[in-house]
């Protein structure tokens, strides 16, 4: 069963093209990660799915209906930006307020316990720490016993422990059959939680595949060094020569360095750096993709 669907969705803000013919389908029971650098269009896509914005063209469906119709949002859970919690209201009051919109909300104490906020029940949200505010914001998405939860950068700026608490809660929801669409610009977070990854860059879907498949693509390193001549090297996704310096993109930097040594290349000033997601994907999706690369399957909207 399809819970949310974007069909050839384009969204412009004035001259800026935020989303360009995006297709996305979220089935019941999936945990989908929306991965991409800041400004890639993740938040715009989420705002379209929850009905805050209308697509410029294309169609959005939520539970088979128009997300702008309140009835379509009855089984949806969404996180407010943590900075947006009303500062004078107490934690318990904010939860009760959101709960009042749903027919069968999760009891307040149970929810706060699940997110480690029981002791904060009577605190005003303005007095919470950043981590507590974020946990409350995420907790609100689960108040109405949703079938689909959208989490926009749920753990950005959190310490390790707070992040674990949130991850556990999200996993528990998914284990009980809940569907999750979460956005992140951390590969790590998506790897930890999601089974399927949709990579977005410059408003387009660059890849839509399993975590393993995307990881092998995204785990590209940039190996830079100065050398005169280069033999043909296996596993190089792309090579550039900029001002006498070679830049090789590869999925296995260790092997590439061994190959360089074995081939007797007189390199100096070696440097191995991780590439950004964007860089990796632009490299992978460029025309000169070698045939032995893991293919970016089901890449749609291109």
């Amino acid at each position: 069963m399809i819970l949310a669907r974007a069909d050839q969705v384009t969204r412009r803000y004035g001259d800026v093209l935020a989303l360009d013919r995006v297709d996305l389908t979220v089935h019941a029971g999936e945990m989908v990660g929306l991965l991409g650098p800041n400004g890639a269009g993740k938040s715009t896509l989420m705002n379209l799915v929850v009905g805050l914005r209308r697509p410029t063209s294309g169609r959005i469906e939520l539970f088979g209906g128009d997300p702008r119709d309140p009835a379509s949002r009855r089984q949806l859970g969404m996180t407010p930006q943590e900075t947006g919690l009303p500062g004078t209201l107490r934690v318990g009051e904010v939860v009760d307020f959101v709960a009042a919109h749903y027919p069968d909300p999760v009891p307040r104490d149970e929810l706060l316990d699940r997110f480690g906020l029981t002791d904060q029940l009577r605190r005003q949200t303005g007095g919470l720490s950043g981590g507590q505010r974020r946990r409350l914001a995420v907790a609100l998405a689960f108040v109405g016993r949703p079938r689909l939860v959208l989490l926009d950068e749920p753990t950005t700026g959190l310490d390790v422990e707070a992040r674990r608490t949130l991850w556990d809660a999200i996993r528990a929801f998914h284990a009980e059959g809940g569907t999750v669409l979460l956005s992140s610009h951390y590969l790590e977070e998506v790897e930890e939680l999601a089974e399927r990854v949709v990579v977005i860059g410059h408003g387009r879907v660059l890849a839509d595949d399993s975590v393993d498949a995307v990881r092998s693509v995204v785990g590209v390193r940039r190996v830079g060094f100065v050398a005169d001549d280069l033999p043909a090297l296996p596993g190089v996704v792309r090579s550039e020569l900029i001002e006498g310096r070679h830049h090789l993109l590869t999925t296995d930097a260790d092997q590439l360095v061994r190959d360089l040594v074995a081939a007797g290349v007189a390199f100096t000033d070696l440097e191995v750096r991780p590439t950004s997601l964007e860089e990796a994907f632009l490299a992978i999706t460029a025309e000169e993709r070698p045939r032995d690369e893991p293919p970016v399957t089901a890449a749609s909207g291109r």
Partner: protein
């Protein structure tokens, strides 16, 4: 309906948590009562009653213009506002809740004026007229609620504060709220009927005494309700279109 009351309750909670905001809308009319009404018209039962009715109108106006003008503009700055739009309810309950909360606060802001009037002046009112006046306050709130909403939905919060302050004093003065009926300076008597404040004040005066309402003031009040209502709807739609389309 249930949801409207929930929104009303939370609007009130948010305001009550910062009590100084309550004092603001009640302060001006109460101070005007003490400085102008008590010393000048305090001993004359009829004059004091009319003056109290004027101050009640003044209070209704300032409470509504400020709480909607500034409150709405500030809420629009908060990310919480779009979040509530993702909950399974349309914008109706939130708006209705805001208006009900606004009305409740308007009544609250009248208490100081009424206490001063009852204890320090000779103003008097029959129980029936008092009950009627409670209803009149709700009617008189309409144009000023619409004016506040128009300001709040069309301007950023910093501009809304300034505009609310700029419109409210000339409206009070020009409408003749700061003088007894028929005793305002000549030029004010001329312009007053054309301002929404005058029609509102005349409604209050007619409720508490036997003031004969002038058709012109009443017609102008109706005209203002239509104009301000259209403005509020226009501003609301424009804001929706900019933020949610």
């Amino acid at each position: 309906m249930q949801l409207t009351l929930v929104h009303t309750r939370y609007q009130l909670l948010e305001i009550v948590r910062i009590p100084i905001a309550l004092i603001g809308s009640a302060f001006f009319p109460a101070a005007a009562m003490l400085f102008f009404v008590v010393p000048f018209a305090g001993k004359d039962p009829i004059g004091a009653t009319y003056a109290t009715a004027s101050m009640v109108t003044f209070s209704v106006m300032s409470a509504n213009i400020f709480q909607y003008g500034i409150g709405v503009a500030e809420d629009r700055d908060q990310p919480w506002n779009p979040y509530t739009r993702t909950l399974p309810a349309g914008p109706g309950p939130r708006l209705a809740g805001r208006v009900l909360a606004g009305l409740a606060l308007t009544y609250l802001s009248l208490i100081p004026v009424l206490v001063i009037s009852a204890t320090l002046t000779a103003a008097r009112i029959t129980p029936l007229a008092f009950l009627l006046a409670i209803g009149t306050v709700a009617v008189v709130s309409v144009p000023f609620t619409l004016m506040g909403l128009a300001i709040g939905y069309s301007l950023p919060s910093k501009a809304a504060i300034v505009v609310a302050q700029i419109v409210f004093f000339p409206l009070a003065f020009g409408g003749g709220l700061l003088s007894s009926p028929g005793e305002a300076p000549g030029f004010i008597e001329v312009i007053a009927p054309y301002l929404p404040t005058r029609g509102a004040a005349e409604l209050m005066w007619a409720t508490v005494g036997d003031y004969p309402m002038r058709p012109l003031s009443l017609a102008m009040l109706g005209f203002w309700v239509v104009v301000l209502g259209s403005l509020a709807v226009w501003a609301y739609r424009r804001d929706e279109g900019r933020r949610f389309s």
